[in-house]
Amino acid sequence: MSVVTSALVLGLIEAAPLVLAAMGFTLIYYLNGFTNVAFAENITFGAFFAVIFTSILGLDFYLSIIPASLLSGAVSVLTYLCIFRPALRRGVGPTEMIILSVGLSFALRYGARLIFGGDLYYFDTVSPEYYAFLGVGVTSFQITALVLVAVLASLLYVFIYRTRYGEMMRALANNEELALASGINPTLVSVLIWFIAGVAGGLAGVFFGVFSFVNTLVGWNLILIVIMISIIGGVGSIRGALIASVVVGIVTSSISLVATPLYGEVLLLVLFIAFLKIRQMRARA
């Protein structure tokens, strides 16, 4: 019983940054129809912005989340306006868009590496308080992160499925010409979506960083799992991404309770490849 509850609690904590990252990543995929590998750097930059605000400018950790996430949103919009929108307008195909985003990802990551070096950064925070939750030891940061993620994910969900802008986005993604004919401003909606996706990615980086550490590889190490989650959840489905990231979080923490981290990753990746094949065979049958 205790193993089950530990797996659940630790899984939810593990899933907290993943939920935000997967939702942000899926938003972009849903709107523009390509895999944005450079989203990894959005995660990394969010974490570094928060490090800068807390360690260098001496801001309170919870307060620094706000400017850090807004800045990540701004970076995301910049990459859209300067790189991805021109590329989409030039008719670059979906596969080439992926490679383009890999290029941007390397440019940004190693650019950040030139500035911050290969060191590990930790958040300058007051030492957390420890609680026992369902028999599992958790820190106050982890509980705060969990609550914040639950609130933000719900807000995002309501925004996409219940508001006018969410409706506009879905219209644009499903039938661009019809959406344009209905008077939807594509640039405005796209900028808004890229901003929200960037904020979500940045927050994911902050929460990931406060649980462990921050370096320039944080986003790259996470992005493979994030893309996997979006594929498992059904590409472009925000609901699917939400559910899949919780499931993957719980599966990952269950594996890590019985195996070393590297074996856990191997098992997860092999499971994922097998999942792809099984789904394809079922689709054919």
Binding site: V92, L104, F106, L108, R109, R113, M228, L262, A274, K277
Partner: protein
């Protein structure tokens, strides 16, 4: 004055040749057949480690170990190809990337076999004697030229046209009665085994094998070379490698005297510039330097 063929120059040139071969094999997979393989380092690294292990741990004869290592890579490529080749390009990309991550993880964890981060060595050159490194370079040169010639011949053969047809419109090719899945699987197995062969031959070039050789930078360098040179042209990989890896890993690292403070920055700067170049090429010359500005018209 530095000797043109000093030990380090031979090492760098051998590395450059391996990259030319990998980029040409990727041209065959991606440029010709449209297979998105982001696991280049996985096949290369598997070949390298399999060869090293068979040679050093199992004491097999040199060429038996080489052939067995390539056969292992071919088998793994066959299984992976069976799983991923009929998926869409995004799933192919993630699955092959995941495969490469699995190989890198296993090389790190299976210390009883690979010696983990301590490193596996020393892998000897195929021929002894004072010029052993030069002989290896010559073998790599012959094999690399062989791959380029094969790529050129294949592009004009019926099988090459079938692969191009699969890339451009797989449903059409299948409806014309071609077994497209089978053709892709055979071709993927063959070309990935080729990557494994050059991996195995990289083992004596490196001599000492560590898991950090298997980072994502290898796959990325091969991709940038191919995209810069021109993915649809058999010489695209060669041109791309000359403009990227040759400049950084050979000219700058061998002949440019840089202060030691800079020595650590150059590999980082290199990967950043690769990224910038990749973005610029895809935005302004999507078919590479050898390619037209526009998509070549299909003759199918």
């Amino acid at each position: 004055m530095i000797d043109l063929l000093s030990g380090y120059a031979i090492f760098s040139l051998s590395t450059v040749l391996v990259f030319v071969a990998l980029a040409t094999l990727l041209h065959l997979q991606f440029g010709l057949a449209g297979i998105v393989n982001f696991g280049v380092v996985g096949f290369w690294g598997l070949g390298m480690y399999a060869f090293g292990i068979l040679l050093l741990n199992f004491q097999l004869p040199y060429f038996v170990a080489l052939i067995l290592a390539v056969a292992i890579v071919a088998l793994v490529a066959f299984v992976l190809g069976w799983v991923v080749l009929d998926l869409d390009s995004q799933a192919q990309l993630v699955a092959t990337l995941a495969f490469a991550a699995v190989i890198a993880d296993l090389v790190t964890t299976e210390k009883w076999l690979t010696k983990g981060v301590v490193g596996l060595g020393t892998v000897p050159h195929p021929f002894g004697g004072a010029q052993s490194a030069l002989w290896l370079l010559l073998i790599l040169l012959v094999l690399t030229v062989g791959v380029i010639v094969y790529a050129r011949l294949l592009g004009r053969s019926p099988f090459g046209r079938l692969l191009a047809a699969i890339r451009d419109n797989e449903v059409l090719a299948r409806n014309l009665g071609k077994d497209t899945s089978r053709a892709k699987l055979i071709f993927f197995t063959l070309t990935s085994a080729g990557m494994g062969l050059f991996g195995a031959l990289s083992a004596p070039v490196r001599q000492f094998l560590t898991p950090d050789l298997l980072g994502p930078g290898v796959t990325f360098s091969v991709w940038i070379a191919l995209i810069v040179g021109g993915k649809r042209w058999p010489l695209g990989g060669l041109l791309g490698v000359l403009l990227t890896i040759f400049v950084f890993d050979f000219l700058i690292e061998t002949y440019l005297r840089v202060p030691s403070d800079w020595a650590q920055i150059i590999p980082i700067l290199k990967l950043m510039l690769y990224g910038v170049t990749l973005v610029l090429v895809l935005l302004f010359r999507p078919f590479g330097l050898l390619g037209d500005r526009r998509q070549p018209t299909s003759h199918l």
